[in-house]
Amino acid sequence: MAEYDIPLIDQKKCTLCGLCVDICPENVLAIHAGALVFENPNACTMCAQCESVCPEQAVSVYYHISWAEKKE
């Protein structure tokens, strides 16, 4: 799994509120031993709902920017 295939978590900003865990449709995230972790990273679809819901801006999704392919 490439590092850009899952969001970046800033553990210093994370308050373990669990909102991202609740909102994730693929159950990728979990809180274990006082930290937010990727329990199921391969299931991540980069939908970015975790980024949107985080009140502390602790979650960041990586984006690749490109042009849409032209259709023939």
């Binding site: 980069m46 970015a48 999704v61 984006y63 690749h64 920017i65 490109s66």
Partner: protein, 224 residues
């Protein structure tokens, strides 16, 4: 040559003797993603040629906000300014945003070699001229363009990157640092552009759909 200069087009324009002298003086250093290369206001120790990877140049405000001044790609040179100036302080910070290999030439050797080989000085001056042109455009955009315009211009420039250039993956914070704003404003503007149909976001990709419309936004011609 003891170092790998592949991809550093800069060197191929120099005479063989200059290349050999340069090669004898540089040494290779590997950096991991996130590692700092230089810090703002530290004494300038060296000039760096980017062999592989990507280096971000940025400055920091007293409240911790960062602004990205530029991104240095393979083949380009880092930290030319303090090598050429008598006051040898690094003007900005530099950190690697990917695993990176730099060829390092210390400041004294750089100045000595420029004295012996004017072609080296001219080549470095050309690098500086390119950088200054970019900075001039950036300063103008920061002063005169809205965030929406700057974001559209950034998205176009990124998508237009050569396929041979390393792919850079951007978080909203990274984009905000590049264009001089904050992450929330990036998010709002991306949402607006998506609603307008000029781009689509899916699974970690920002896919640009309408070049003409995006360019009009970047030029300030779009009435929205």
């Amino acid at each position: 040559m003891k170092n790998n200069w592949t991809g550093i087009a800069f060197i191929s324009a120099l005479s063989l003797q200059c290349q050999q002298e340069l090669d004898a003086c540089v040494w290779q250093v590997a950096y991991r993603k996130g590692e700092a290369v230089i810090w703002e206001d530290d004494d300038c120790k060296a000039l760096y040629f980017v062999s592989s990877g990507v280096v971000e140049i940025y400055r920091t405000a007293v409240d911790g906000r960062e602004h990205t001044l530029g991104v240095i790609m393979p083949g380009q040179v880092l930290n030319v300014v303090p090598v050429l100036r008598e006051e040898a302080k690094n003007p900005a910070n530099a950190r690697c945003i990917r695993d990176t290999i730099l060829l390092v030439l210390n400041r004294e050797d750089a100045r000595r070699l420029m004295g012996y080989f004017p072609e080296l000085a001219i080549a470095l001056a050309a690098e500086l001229a390119d950088r200054l042109q970019q900075m001039t455009r950036k300063a103008g955009a920061l002063a005169l363009h809205t965030v929406r315009q700057r974001l559209a211009a950034f998205l176009i420039a990124e998508a237009d990157q050569d396929d041979k250039a390393p792919h850079i993956f951007w978080t909203r914070d990274d984009m905000a640092r590049q264009i001089g704003t904050v992450r929330d404003v990036i998010g709002r503007n991306l949402r607006d552009m998506e609603t307008e149909g000029v781009l689509r976001r899916e699974k970690g990709n920002i896919i640009l759909l309408d070049r003409v419309r995006l360019q009009r936004i970047a030029n300030g011609e779009d009435p929205t």
